[in-house]
C-alpha cells in the first residue's frame, strides 16, 4: 500500500484490513477503521470539494461532524445516492464509491469559480439587493437570465438522488430513565454512574466508536490504565448491564418538548454491499425522564485571509487524524493558536515526524506547562502573532505571519508549509441545550457561552459546559449521571461522587480568541472566512452592520452566516464577535441566535420511516371491495377509502361506463357500495333533544321507523356535513355522515356533549365499520330485494320514502332504509360487515334478472347532480348556509337554539348578494364546464372583472341529454333565465341560469 502520510504504527485503524475505494473515479486504499477523510489524507489528498458560493477549492477543516467543507456524495447503487455526507464521518468500506460535490465540470477546473472574481457583487444580501437595487437590476430580463440561474446554481449543496430510494427506514419510540447524549469521557462516566444506580439508560453517540476524545489520546492514563484499555473495559462493563443500551452511529439531532429527543441511528451505511434485511437508518423518538447532555466542545477556527485553503485545518483535527487514524495531515506545519491545546497538537505531530515550522500564538505572553514543553522541544514560537494570509492554489504552500502590537503589524514573514493548523480555542457545543429552550449564559472569565438554567429535566456535563481536562470531565460526567439517576425517581443505591485518577492530563492556561484576526490594509478583497459552508466572510458581516443591521438574528439572515447544514458549528462565535466589534458592543449584549434542529442533516427516509408507498396512509377497503375489484372496477381515493369509481365493461371508457350505469339505474336498478358512509349510533333518553340542539331542523316529532335528512352546521352557521338520520327507537338514532366527515362529526358531537350539553344523557358510538351498506336504487329496487327479505313489509304503503325498518336479509340482521340519493325509488341495506359481500352477491344475483348494474361513485355523482342534491365539500366550501344551497326551509323557526343558530342571523349571512346554488346549462349542450371555473356577467373580461361565483359540479347527463352543471352564483335564485359567462382560455362560454333540479322536478319517481 502506498499511503505516504500513514504513520508506521499507532491509531485505531486495523492495519491488516485494507479497504479499497474510489473518490471522483480514482482508486485508493485505506484501512478498516478509517473515515473517507482519513483515508484520503493518508494519500495526501486535501482538495476534496468546492465552496458553496465562490467555488473555492476546499479541504478538510475538521475531523468530526462539524466539518463544513468536505462534503461527499456516496453512491451505493440502485438509487442509493446520499449527498452532503461529511467525509469525516463516512466510514470506509471496501468498494466505496464517493464523489466530491459542487463543481462543474471537474473538481480541479470549476467554471463556478468565476463567482470568486465577482465577489464584490455577490456580497452579503445579494439576493435581497436584486429586488431592491437600481431598476436595471430588478428588470425581468436580468432576473430571469442572470440572477435567478446564478442563485439557483449556487443555492443548495450536492445533488439529490433522482430515483426512488429502495432502502427501508425504521422508527422506534422508547422511554428511558436517563438519556446520555454523547459517549465521550463525560457521557461514558454519566452512563456508568446512572447504570450502576440501576436506571434504564440510553447512551448514544454520533461516532462509529464510543469514546469521543478518548479515541485520540495514546498517552493518557485513566485509573492506572491506558485510556484505550480503560475505555474498552468500561464499555464492557456497560455492555454487561442489561439496563444500558448503547447506540453508536446515533446522532441526537433534535431536542423537543417534554424531554423528547430524536435520534437518527445509521445502521448499514458503514457496511460493504447492500444489506436489504436491515433498515438503513432508524429514528429513535426517546422520551427520557432525565437527560444528560455530554456533547463536548468544538474547536473554533481563526478568521484570517485565506483561512479556507486546503491544508488549513483545525488544530485538534490534525491531532485526531494522527492519533486515531495514524495519518499525518502534512509534513511541514504552521500552528496558529490563541489557546494552549494547540501546543499539544504541535508536540504530538512533531513526535510523529511532522516538522513544526512555527507556532504563532496570538497571545503576547503564553505560559503554562504545554508552552514550556513546546519550548523544551525546541519549537519556534511567535508570540503576539497573527496570520496575515496564505498562499497556494490547491493546497496551502505558505503562511504570512506577523507580529501585532496595538494596531500595527510588524515583522512580516512568509513561512512555507503544507499544513496550517489553527485554534481559536473551544466552543462548548450547546446546540441541543439551546434546542431544549435552556437559557444560555455567558461566562466572562472564559469568554464562552455555556448552558445556564435548564428548563427541562436535564443537565450538561463535561466540555459542553466549559470544563476541560479529563479528570474534571470524567468526574463531572459521573456526578451528572448520579444526579440524573436520582432525579429519575424510584429506589437507587446510594452512590457517592467519584474521582478518576488521570495521568497525562494537560492543564490549559487561559486563552481563546473569537472574531477576525487583525490584518494590515483595508482588506477590501481579502476573504477571511467565518462560515465555510455558506461562504460568508468577515467582510460580509461588517458590511451587514454598516448597512444598518444590529440584531444578530437579522445579521444571520442577511449574511446567511450559520444558516448552512452545519448549523454554524464552527462559525457562530466568530460571526458574533465580528458583529459585536463592528457594533462596538460586548459579545453577550449582541447575543446568540437560537440553534435549530437538526444538529446534523437527517435523511428524508428517516423522517418518513415506513410511511411510504402502500404504507403511506392506511388504505381502507369496504367488505365489498374485492367483489368490485373482481368485476373490473376502477377505484378512486375518498379520504382514506378506496371506492369503486366506475365499472367499465370491455371496450368502455369512463364516460361510456358512467353513462350506462346511470341509464340502467334509472331504467331498472343499480347497486352501489355505500359502506364508507360514516355511521354514528346516538342513544340515550335525551337523544332526540341532543339532535334538536345539534341540527337546525327538528327531531322531536320524527316517529320511530322514520328518517330525516339533516344538515349539520358549525358554530359559524356554515354547512359542515349532511346525512340521513333514522329513528330506531324513541331513545336511539342511526346517524349517517359523509364518507370523509365521519371522524369530524363524531368529534363535533362528543365535544358538544362533553362541554356544552353535559346535562344530556346521550351516548355516542361509531358504527361506520360495523355495517356494510348496499344501496339498491331504481324502479326495480323493491322487486330485486323482495325475494331476499321476508320479515319486512316493503310495500309503498307500509314503507314509504324515508322509512327505516329492522329485519333480516338472507338470514342476517338488517337495518333497511328507504332513502334515495338518485331521485329513484331506493333502499339502503345495512348488514354486519362480515356479511356484506355475501348479501351483495345475493342482491346482485337477483338484480341480474332485471339487468341491474353495479355503479360507482362517478355515476352516483351524476345521478344526484341531475336531481340537484348537493355534496358537502364539493357544492359547498365551508362558507355556505342552508339558505345558500336552497335548503333554508329546513331551518326550524321555533327552536330555542341549535348549533349555528345565532350565526345565521348575522347581517353578512342574511344580506343581499349571497352566493346561491343554481343550475347552469351551457348554450352549447356539448360543453362540459370545468368544475371550479369562474362565472362573470360579460363575455369580455377585462382585468378586475368581478366574479359572481363558480361552477361546483359539472357532468354530461344521459337522461337530460346534454351537459349540466351546478354552480354558486351571487343572487343566483333571482337570475333564473339569465345568461352568464364562464371565461376560459379558448374564449367565454355562455350559459343559462336554471333551477338546480334537472330531472323529475316533481320528485314523483321517489314514490314508486
Amino acid at each position: 500500500m502506498n499511503a505516504p502520510f500513514r504513520t508506521p504504527t499507532g491509531g485505531r485503524v486495523d492495519r491488516g484490513a485494507t479497504r479499497r475505494f474510489s473518490f471522483d473515479g480514482r482508486s485508493y486504499d485505506g484501512l478498516a477503521g478509517d473515515t473517507l477523510a482519513s483515508a484520503l489524507l493518508s494519500h495526501g489528498v486535501h482538495l476534496v470539494g468546492r465552496s458553496f458560493k465562490y467555488h473555492r477549492p476546499r479541504g478538510f477543516l475538521a475531523a468530526g461532524s462539524e466539518e463544513p467543507n468536505a462534503l461527499t456524495s456516496v453512491n451505493r447503487g440502485g438509487g442509493r445516492v446520499t449527498p452532503n455526507l461529511r467525509m469525516t464521518q463516512v466510514e470506509l468500506y471496501d468498494g466505496m464509491e464517493a464523489r466530491s460535490q459542487n463543481h462543474w465540470p471537474s473538481l480541479a477546473f470549476d467554471v463556478g469559480a468565476v463567482n470568486g472574481l465577482m465577489s464584490p457583487i455577490f456580497a452579503a444580501g445579494f439576493y435581497y439587493k436584486t429586488f431592491m437595487g437600481p431598476k436595471f437590476m430588478r428588470g425581468p430580463g436580468l432576473w430571469a437570465k442572470l440572477f435567478e440561474p446564478a442563485i439557483r446554481r449556487a443555492a443548495g449543496l450536492g445533488v439529490a438522488a433522482d430515483e426512488g430510494d429502495p432502502d427501508v427506514y425504521a422508527n422506534r419510540f422508547v422511554h428511558c430513565d436517563v438519556l446520555v447524549v454523547g459517549a465521550g469521557p463525560a457521557g461514558i462516566a454519566a452512563a456508568l454512574a446512572a447504570g450502576r444506580a440501576g436506571k434504564q439508560i440510553i447512551l448514544c453517540d454520533e461516532g462509529a466508536e464510543l469514546g469521543g476524545a478518548l479515541l485520540a489520546e495514546p498517552k493518557l492514563e485513566i485509573e492506572g490504565r491506558p485510556a484505550a484499555a480503560w475505555l474498552a473495559a468500561t464499555l464492557r462493563d456497560l455492555a454487561a448491564m442489561p439496563n444500558v443500551t448503547a447506540l453508536p452511529r446515533t446522532q441526537a439531532f433534535g431536542y423537543y418538548g417534554h424531554n423528547l429527543v430524536a435520534l437518527a441511528e445509521r445502521l448499514t451505511d458503514h457496511l460493504p454491499g447492500v444489506d436489504t434485511t436491515v433498515p438503513r437508518e432508524r429514528m429513535w423518538q426517546v422520551r427520557a425522564a432525565e437527560v444528560v447532555l455530554a456533547t463536548g466542545a468544538i474547536e473554533r477556527p481563526l478568521v484570517f485571509p485565506g483561512n479556507d485553503r486546503p491544508g488549513v485545518m483545525l488544530a485538534e483535527a490534525g491531532r485526531v487524524f494522527l492519533n486515531r487514524y495514524g495519518v499525518k495531515a502534512g509534513s511541514r506545519a504552521v500552528v496558529a493558536t490563541a489557546h494552549d491545546s494547540a501546543y499539544r497538537v504541535a508536540l504530538d505531530l512533531q513526535a510523529a515526524g511532522v516538522t513544526i515550522a512555527a507556532i504563532v500564538d496570538l497571545r503576547e505572553r503564553p505560559t503554562g506547562p504545554l508552552v514550556e514543553q513546546a519550548r523544551g522541544a525546541g519549537l519556534r514560537i511567535v508570540t503576539g502573532g497573527t496570520v496575515m494570509g496564505t498562499k497556494g492554489h490547491w493546497r496551502v504552500s505558505e503562511a504570512t505571519v506577523a507580529h501585532v502590537s496595538g494596531d500595527h503589524v510588524t515583522d512580516l514573514q512568509r513561512i512555507p508549509c503544507d499544513l496550517l493548523l489553527m485554534s481559536g480555542g473551544w466552543t462548548p457545543s450547546i446546540h441541543l441545550f439551546s434546542q431544549s429552550r435552556g437559557v444560555i449564559a455567558y461566562d466572562t472569565a472564559t469568554e464562552m457561552f455555556i448552558p445556564g438554567k435548564a428548563v427541562q429535566a436535564q443537565r450538561s456535563a463535561g466540555s459542553c459546559r466549559g470544563l476541560f481536562g479529563f479528570a474534571d470531565v470524567l468526574a463531572d460526567g459521573y456526578a451528572a449521571g448520579l444526579d440524573a439517576a436520582g432525579a429519575a425517581g424510584g429506589d437507587a443505591p446510594a452512590l457517592g461522587d467519584k474521582a478518576f485518577a488521570v495521568r497525562g492530563d494537560d492543564a490549559y492556561g487561559p486563552g481563546g480568541f473569537s472574531g477576525a484576526l487583525p490584518i494590515s490594509g483595508d482588506g477590501a478583497r481579502a476573504k477571511a472566512f467565518v462560515d465555510f459552508q455558506n461562504d460568508v466572510t468577515a467582510k460580509d458581516i461588517k458590511l451587514a452592520t454598516r448597512e444598518g443591521f444590529r440584531s444578530i438574528e437579522h445579521i444571520k439572515r442577511y449574511t446567511t452566516t450559520g444558516m448552512a447544514t452545519d448549523q454554524g458549528k464552527t462559525s457562530n462565535l466568530n460571526a458574533l464577535a465580528i458583529a459585536a466589534k463592528a457594533l462596538n458592543e460586548p459579545v453577550p449584549a449582541v447575543g446568540l441566535t437560537t440553534f435549530r434542529q437538526p444538529f446534523t442533516p437527517v435523511t428524508f427516509g428517516t423522517f418518513a420511516g415506513m410511511s411510504r408507498g402502500q404504507m403511506f396512509d392506511p388504505v381502507r377497503q369496504t367488505p365489498i371491495h374485492d367483489w368490485a375489484a373482481a368485476h373490473g372496477a376502477e377505484f378512486e381515493d375518498v379520504s382514506l377509502w378506496k371506492r369503486a369509481h366506475y365499472f367499465p365493461e370491455p371496450g368502455e371508457d369512463m364516460h361510456a361506463a358512467v353513462d350506462r350505469e346511470c341509464r340502467r339505474t334509472r331504467e331498472s336498478a343499480g347497486l352501489f357500495d355505500a359502506s364508507t358512509l360514516g355511521k354514528i349510533e346516538v342513544a340515550g333518553p335525551d337523544a332526540a333533544e341532543f339532535l334538536n340542539r345539534l341540527y337546525p331542523n327538528s327531531w322531536t316529532k320524527l316517529g320511530v321507523g322514520r328518517c330525516r335528512y339533516g344538515l349539520m352546521l358549525n358554530e359559524a352557521g356554515f354547512i359542515m356535513d349532511d346525512g340521513v338520520v333514522g329513528r330506531l327507537a324513541p331513545d336511539r338514532f342511526h346517524v349517517t355522515t359523509t364518507t370523509g366527515g365521519a371522524p369530524r362529526v363524531l368529534n363535533h358531537m362528543e365535544d358538544y356533549l362533553q362541554t356544552e350539553f353535559p346535562d344530556l344523557k346521550v351516548w355516542l358510538t361509531s358504527t361506520t365499520d360495523q355495517w356494510a351498506v348496499i344501496a339498491v336504487q331504481g324502479p326495480r329496487a323493491r322487486d330485486i330485494l323482495l325475494p331476499l327479505i321476508d320479515d319486512v313489509d316493503m310495500s309503498a304503503a307500509a314503507m314509504p320514502h324515508m322509512a327505516i325498518r329492522l329485519g333480516h336479509i338472507c338470514g342476517v340482521p338488517m337495518r333497511l332504509f328507504r332513502v334515495s340519493f338518485t331521485g329513484e325509488l331506493g333502499f339502503e341495506v345495512n348488514v354486519p360487515a362480515d356479511y356484506g359481500r355475501a348479501v351483495w352477491e345475493a342482491i346482485w344475483s337477483e338484480g341480474r334478472a332485471y339487468d341491474a348494474v353495479a355503479y360507482g361513485t362517478e355515476a352516483m355523482h351524476v345521478l344526484r347532480a341531475e336531481k340537484g342534491y348537493i355534496i358537502v365539500g364539493q357544492d359547498t366550501d365551508g362558507t355556505m348556509t342552508p339558505d345558500d344551497v336552497g335548503l333554508g326551509g329546513m331551518v326550524a323557526k321555533q327552536k330555542p337554539d341549535f348549533v349555528g343558530m345565532r350565526s345565521l342571523t348575522r347581517p353578512f349571512l342574511t344580506g343581499e348578494g349571497r352566493k346561491q346554488l343554481v343550475g347552469l346549462l351551457p348554450d352549447d349542450d356539448a360543453i362540459v364546464l370545468d368544475e371550479g371555473a369562474q362565472i362573470v356577467d360579460r363575455a369580455e373580461v377585462p382585468n378586475g372583472t368581478h366574479a359572481l361565483g363558480h361552477v361546483t359540479s359539472s357532468y354530461r347527463s344521459g337522461v337530460v341529454g346534454r351537459s349540466i352543471a351546478l354552480a354558486v352564483v351571487e343572487r343566483g335564485r333571482s337570475r333564473m333565465g339569465e345568461t352568464l359567462f364562464i371565461p376560459m382560455p379558448g374564449g367565454s362560454i355562455p350559459a343559462k341560469i336554471v333551477s338546480p333540479v334537472f330531472y323529475d322536478p316533481q320528485g314523483e319517481r321517489l314514490n314508486g
Partner: protein, 183 residues
C-alpha cells in the same frame, strides 16, 4: 479496534435473540357499553366479568374480558356467541347506558413474543415497559397512523383491536416493524 467493535456489536439491540409472532385472531363477539356506573354493574353481572371502574384496566374472566376505555366506556370481548349482545342489551337499563354490538366493526390481532413491545413501539409512542404498562393494562392509542386499542394480556402477549378497514394497515405496520427489528 477489534476488541472495541466486538463490544459494540454486543451492545447493539439488534443482536439480542428475541422473537415475535403476529397474527389475526378469530372472530369474536364485541360489545361496547357507554353509560353510568350502575349500567356497568348490571352489564357485568350478565357478562360474568366485572366492568371495573379502574382506569385503563381490563378485567379478564376466563375467555371474556371487559376493557375500561373511558370513564363511561367499556369494550367487552368474548368468544363468538350468538345472542350474547342481545342478552346484555336486555340487561342494560337504557335510562343509564347504551349497549351496541360492534362484533363486525373490529378485528383482533395478537402480538406475542419477547420482542412484542419493541415491535409495537415502532408505531406506538407509549411506554410499554412491564412496569409502566403492566399485564392487564389496556388503552386506546395509536399505531403509526391508525387508532388501536392495546391490551397486555401476559408479559409477552398483547391484544390489539382496530377497526376492520384499518386492519390490513395495522397488520402491515406490525409485520414491517418486526422485519425492521430483525425478525
Amino acid at each position: 479496534m477489534a476488541e472495541a467493535s466486538t463490544v459494540l456489536r454486543r451492545l447493539s439491540p439488534l443482536a439480542t435473540q428475541n422473537t415475535v409472532s403476529i397474527g389475526f385472531l378469530p372472530p369474536m363477539t364485541r360489545i361496547t357499553l357507554r353509560g353510568e356506573p350502575d349500567a356497568a354493574r348490571r352489564v357485568g353481572e350478565v357478562f360474568r366479568a366485572e366492568l371495573s371502574p379502574d382506569p385503563l384496566r381490563a378485567n379478564a374472566a376466563g375467555a371474556r374480558a371487559a376493557l375500561w376505555l373511558g370513564p363511561d366506556e367499556w369494550l367487552l370481548l368474548a368468544p363468538e356467541q350468538a345472542g350474547l349482545a342481545a342478552s346484555i342489551e336486555a340487561a342494560c337499563d337504557r335510562e343509564h347506558g347504551c349497549v351496541i354490538d360492534v362484533s363486525h366493526r373490529q378485528v383482533g390481532i395478537e402480538v406475542r413474543g419477547t420482542a412484542g413491545a419493541t415491535v409495537l413501539n415502532a408505531g406506538c409512542p407509549l411506554n410499554l415497559d412491564l412496569k409502566a404498562f403492566p399485564v392487564g393494562m389496556c388503552t386506546r392509542t395509536v399505531l403509526a397512523k391508525a387508532d388501536i386499542v392495546l391490551w397486555r394480556r401476559e408479559p409477552e402477549l398483547f391484544h390489539v383491536e382496530c377497526w376492520r378497514s384499518f386492519a390490513p394497515y395495522v397488520l402491515g405496520v406490525l409485520k414491517q416493524a418486526s422485519r425492521d427489528c430483525g425478525f
